[in-house]
């Protein structure tokens, strides 16, 4: 099934070993592909590969599996669930034609929704490699992906946030302080999601109960999630814990997921268990997935693919389980995969585009670590670009500083910046809560209350001797 590709330009003919090699060499430069030894040897070879890839028919991706069908349950998932009828409107196109088609007016929001089940991650990854940043933004902006649990996520003109109140020792008062700060800055409509410092079932359950009590007491139209291993969440459900969303980090190859300690059947079992709890009010999307370029290479499970193609395949896993949220944690993995601000920004736009085109509720953890060549200005740039692209949600954390995971992501203030600069609103149910409870003085201007809203006054009073309210 695999064959070589070649491209002749003037006197020279360029050879590519197979489709995977062509895809990798057509990928905009990044350190992870250099580390894997799959990237183009020169800038010229990269563009030649892009020219060659532009001539490849989309259909080819249905007959030339990049990871063997026999070896990989994700390849089987992709090919076995491919919808030929949905594919029909674009089935005659090459990758290059597909880019033109996506940018054209025939590719309306409705049409993009219709063809989704006909698109494989490899097709989507391929076209992204020959798109500029502005193309990725413009097409993603046309994609509609709406999900719901206790509020509605992903409506056009809306930007939600995950409130991330992590604490290095899971201290309940410390976590509560960050939750309060975030809520008062209008954050947390996508989820209140904690990465536990201690990863065991008892700890996860304790955090789940704590967030459940907060959400019920203040009647917040949002959901909670403890980002622990899927098998821990399953155990917690069996023990009667109040689980809203099931979390799992996922990758784009079976071997990657095996290194994470789960398979597709595990996800199905967990989703069924969470659905059985019937805790959603306006919808029943019960899964929260995180991804990120480089995870397959990191697990030595990339099958010679470039990291962006592996990443797109992870979205095929995600969409099979109707998630509420999918989050590409773009700059977390470090400089050996995405070296600097330029590479992080490009990857964030690619991931968002690929996810949205495949119908995944794509958010982005716009982030960097202290060993990457990046800073706050790079994050401002990516936040603004993703806001324009219609990103579903971003993280919200006190002052950009995750004191548990030791990296920087977007702050509560950053979310208000993006909403104000780009005229984006939080989820409608959550916005109504901000207004009704007096958390914001003016929800349309994204203006928080100057003092402590009455709702939270009594809680603070007990703690601060009455001075706070």
């Amino acid at each position: 099934m695999q064959h070589t590709y070649s491209y002749t330009l003037g006197p020279r003919t360029w050879q590519f070993r197979d489709l995977a090699d062509l895809m990798a060499k057509a990928t905009p430069a990044r350190s992870g592909d250099r580390l894997a030894g799959v990237m183009a040897a020169s800038a010229e070879e990269r563009v030649i590969a892009q020219m060659c890839l532009a001539e490849v028919p989309l259909k080819t991706f249905l007959s030339e599996a990049l990871v063997p069908y026999e070896d990989d349950e994700i390849t089987r998932l992709i090919l076995d669930t491919h919808d030929a009828d949905a594919f029909a409107p674009v089935s005659h196109l090459t990758v290059g034609d597909f880019r033109n088609w996506l940018l054209g007016d025939a590719a309306s929001s409705e049409m993009l929704t219709r063809i989704r089940p006909g698109l494989t991650p490899e097709m989507v990854a391929a076209v992204s490699k020959i798109m500029r940043n502005q193309d990725l933004i413009l097409v993603a902006r046309k994609c509609r992906v709406e999900t719901a649990f206790r509020d509605t996520i992903g409506l056009s003109g809306h930007l939600s946030t995950r409130l991330q109140p992590n604490h290095p020792t899971d201290d309940m008062t410390g976590i509560a302080a960050s939750i309060l700060d975030g809520l008062l800055y209008g954050n947390g409509d996508a989820v209140i999601g904690i990465n536990p410092a201690t990863d065991n079932v008892a700890q996860a359950t304790k955090l789940m109960r704590m967030m459940d009590e907060v959400i019920r007491k203040y009647e917040i139209p949002t959901q909670s999630c403890v980002l622990t291993h899927v098998t821990n969440t399953l155990e917690a459900i069996e023990q009667g814990a109040p689980v809203d969303l099931v979390f799992q980090s996922i990758g784009g190859t079976e071997a990657t997921n095996r290194s994470f300690g789960f398979g597709l059947s595990t996800l199905k079992e967990a989703r069924d268990a969470a659905l059985g709890l019937k805790r959603g009010t306006v919808g029943q999307n019960v899964m929260y997935f995180e991804t990120g370029q480089g995870s397959s290479l990191s697990a030595d499970a990339h099958h010679g693919l470039d990291q962006q193609t592996c990443e797109a395949r992870a979205y095929a896993v995600a969409r099979a389980f109707d998630p509420l949220l999918v989050n590409t944690v773009v700059g977390f993995i470090g400089p050996e995969y995405l070296f600097d601000g330029k590479e992080i920004i490009r990857a964030g736009l690619e991931d968002h585009f690929c996810g949205k085109l495949m119908g995944v509720p794509m958010g982005c953890d716009i982030c960097y670590t202290n060993h990457a060549e990046a800073d706050q200005n790079d994050m401002d740039n990516l936040l603004t670009l993703l806001g324009v692209a219609g990103c579903t949600f971003i993280m919200g954390i006190p002052g950009s500083d995750d004191i548990m995971l030791n990296y920087q992501t977007t702050s509560f203030h950053d979310a208000l910046y993006a909403r104000r600069a780009l005229d984006l609103r939080p989820a409608p149910e959550f916005e109504a809560w901000l207004e009704t409870m007096g958390v914001f003085d003016d929800v349309r201007r994204h203006e928080p209350s100057a003092g402590v809203p009455g709702l939270f006054g009594p809680s603070l009073k007990g703690l601060t001797g009455g001075g706070a309210a």
């Binding site: 604490h167 020792t169 410390g174 700060d181 990191s298 202290n370 006190p398 002052g399």
Partner: protein
């Protein structure tokens, strides 16, 4: 009230909650943006963290401290090893090289294993990782706490010579543990520095260490430092994991950390906090 012009910076009265957390809460706002003072505080913290990543581990004093431990569980003198990453720049771009011992170090470990002539129960491997200050400040106090806990164990564990690795990643412990014929390895490594926590030590336990294992085969105890998870708690947690690994003959996702259920650690099991009480 609405007739008064708003002050340029609006303070957050809940800032007093910072006595309970290092998180940057209650920063106040200029419009909806960060006030100047807070913005510059952040820039300073980031600048310091950047510097910390590139500051090298001072190995000799660390070896001297480890040599001075003189515990009956320890066999032999500590060894200084190096990965295949020659410098920090290579280290940051090529994690694969940080997972493998240099040829000289490999020979040294093989010689130590030959000298010992028998298997060890546990190898402690100290690795600089991404924060030299984490290792410089916290590795020895943690090991001291762990040795004290071992003293109270009914079964005597035989520890391999402690190794200190420069420019190393977590997985280098697998090669070292395997070469030393250790039944399990505990890697003590500097975690990537955060703005508020430049000195977090991570501890990774792997049963039956050998090259080719991955993260699903390990158990992790994170954020070991005086202002994070205290040495005594971290040590008890490691001891629990070691006992379980020896009992089940595995580590990783198959070994659930139930230290809290076993009431070994200090944290209370309730979820009391000011928002719901």
């Amino acid at each position: 009230m609405s007739d008064q012009p708003k002050p340029p910076v609006i303070d957050n009265p809940w800032r007093v909650l910072r006595q309970y957390t290092d998180a940057r809460i209650g920063l106040g706002r200029a419009g909806i943006s960060l006030p100047t003072s807070e913005m510059l505080e952040f820039q300073l913290a980031h600048a310091r963290a950047r510097d910390a990543v590139h500051f090298p581990l001072d190995v000799e004093p660390l070896l001297a401290e480890l040599t001075a431990l003189e515990d009956k569980h320890l066999t032999g003198l500590p060894m200084r090893l190096h990965s295949q990453s020659e410098d920090r720049f290579t280290y940051l771009q090529r994690p694969d090289l940080g997972r493998k011992l240099s040829e000289a170090s490999r020979n040294e470990v093989a010689a130590a294993a030959d000298d010992a002539g028998e298997a060890f129960d546990l190898a402690l491997v100290v690795v600089d990782g991404l924060s030299s200050s984490a290792v410089q400040n916290n590795a020895v106090p943690f090991i001291r706490a762990f040795l004290a806990d071992l003293e109270r164990e009914p079964v005597d564990l035989k520890l391999a010579p402690i190794t200190v690795v420069e420019q190393g990643r977590v997985a280098i412990g697998d090669e070292i543990g395997g070469a030393l014929n250790a039944r399990a390895v505990a890697v003590l490594i500097g975690e990537r520095p955060g703005l508020s926590s430049p000195d977090s030590l991570g501890v990774y336990l792997t049963w039956n260490p050998r090259p080719g294992l991955n993260d699903a085969d390990r158990n992790c105890i994170s954020n070991v430092r005086p202002a994070g998870l205290r040495f005594e708690s971290a040590s008890q947690r490691l001891l629990y994991l070691v006992r379980e690994a020896f009992r089940l003959k595995l580590s990783g996702v198959g070994l659930k950390d139930r230290t809290e259920e076993a009431a070994v650690v200090d944290a209370s099991s309730d979820n009391k906090n000011f928002l719901t009480n």
